[in-house]
């Protein structure tokens, strides 16, 4: 054996080493470790203090409308809630499954859950595991409903607010929402309120089911 090694050229020996390391790799498993996580307390507290850990619902809506594909939205709620309604491009991943998901460490990930606390826990978990681009959806799905699906114009709006609300209505309709009728459209803003809740809740769900192609395609792009 040693004489065989001695006769080998340097290239031959290096090739042998490469072969051995490659062969051993067959049994060494995956190089990704998932179990342990490291928290950078200083970085996290700084990020929290500056609200840099959050993305607003209006910003998210704009990104979706613009067709941006450099982010992923993760719905952490139970499957049933996800099936009833979710923000169009959202993927349903439970907190427990976050570790095994296809999320990338450099990807922009926007989280929301049934409560802000649950989303924040998941956010902390992702941050600890080195997911640099984890963000919370500010106000969660409730804020999404309030500001995007069923937006309401402030009382006694200024002209600027009226202009702003016209745009908000466009955004709302894009997502199948029911914006409050403008003063010009109906005589009073009050009747708009009771109409909102029930019919509109069904609409986004059907919209999500019908427009299922878009989020699915997105998912493919993501991983």
């Amino acid at each position: 054996m040693p004489s065989f090694l001695n006769n080998l050229s340097l290239n031959g020996r290096l090739a042998l080493v490469a072969f051995a390391l490659g062969f051993l790799a067959l049994f060494a498993g995956t190089p990704y470790h998932g179990a342990e996580a490291v928290l950078n307390a200083k970085e996290l507290s700084l990020v929290m203090a500056t609200d840099a850990d959050q993305v607003g619902v209006v910003t998210l809506a704009d990104w979706i409308i613009q067709g941006k594909s450099d982010f992923r939205v993760v719905d952490l709620r139970p499957e049933a809630a996800y099936a009833a309604y979710h923000i169009p491009p959202a993927e349903n991943i439970s907190v427990a499954a976050l570790g095994e998901s296809t999320l990338q460490h450099n990807e922009k990930v926007i989280l929301y859950a049934e409560s802000g606390e649950r989303a924040a826990q998941a956010w902390m978990l992702l941050k600890a595991k080195g997911y640099k681009g984890a963000y919370l959806l500010r106000g969660g799905v409730e804020a999404w409903k309030d500001s995007i699906l069923f937006p309401r114009i402030p009382e006694n709006p200024t002209p600027a607010q009226v202009v702003q609300f016209a745009r908000t209505r466009e955004v709302s309709r894009f997502f199948g929402g029911t914006p409050q009728a403008l003063a010009g459209d109906s005589t009073s803003a009050v009747p708009a309120a009771p109409q909102l809740a029930m019919p509109a809740l069904a609409m986004p769900a059907s919209q999500a089911a019908g427009g299922g192609g878009a989020p699915k395609k997105k998912k493919k792009e993501g991983c």
Binding site: N11, A15, A18, F19, L21, G22, F23, A25, L26, F27, A28, G29, T30, P31, Y32, H33, S69, T102, Q104, H105, N106, E107, G130, E221, G222, C223
Partner: protein
């Protein structure tokens, strides 16, 4: 201490530039030692008379792959923190072809052009200016091609993701591919040398 050092904050942007400079000098040194300052040697790769480029590049790939894999398995490095260039399939194929054409015609790729300049080659200097003319030209027409530039985005892909095969198996497969490639390259070189003698 965990790698990648920059991602774990071992050094910041400023020191990062110094480190990049040192790594770049090192890379240039070894490219020069491999003979990559000569356009003739580099272009010979495309005529299969000199397979040095193939051998050097594949050696680098296998060395880096084994290093990254084993450091990660041993827990010295966090592979998930390593930046992966996102895949844009169509534009990258076209870009690769353009680079290849330039490589055969000019005799250098951008990195080896720098090595060529460092050893005083005027053709490398001309090509270097050509690169910047190309970059400038691309910048000027970018609005026209930006649609294609961003076409077919596939995200950050890795072979284990695409193939669904275990990581270790792919490492072994690439090593086998490289060793087979080296053997084949030597064989091709001998064949071409023999043909040259005949002619």
């Amino acid at each position: 201490m965990m790698a990648p050092f920059f991602k774990f904050g071992l050094f910041g942007d400023n020191l990062g530039l110094v480190v990049a400079f040192a790594v770049g000098i090192g890379m240039g040194f070894f490219l020069e030692r491999a003979g990559f300052n000569s356009a003739r040697k580099l272009a010979a790769q495309f005529y299969f008379t000199d397979m040095t480029v193939f051998k050097v590049m594949f050696t680098a790939i296998v060395t880096a792959m084994l290093g990254v894999y084993w450091l990660s398995v041993l827990g010295i490095m966090d592979l998930s923190m390593v930046y992966l260039t996102p895949t844009f399939l169509a534009p990258q194929i076209v870009g690769g072809l353009i680079l290849g054409f330039g490589f055969v015609i000019g005799g250098y790729c951008p990195g080896t052009a720098c090595v060529g300049i460092a050893t005083g080659r005027i053709d490398a200097l001309v090509l270097f200016f050509g690169i910047f003319a190309g970059i400038f030209g691309f910048g000027e027409v970018f609005p026209l091609v930006s649609g294609f530039y961003n076409a077919t985005p596939m995200g950050q892909l890795t072979l284990p993701q695409v193939t669904g095969l275990p990581y270790g198996l792919l490492v072994f497969a690439v090593v086998l591919m490289a060793l087979g490639g080296f053997y084949g390259a030597e064989w091709v070189e001998k064949k071409m040398a023999a043909r040259k003698v005949e002619a």
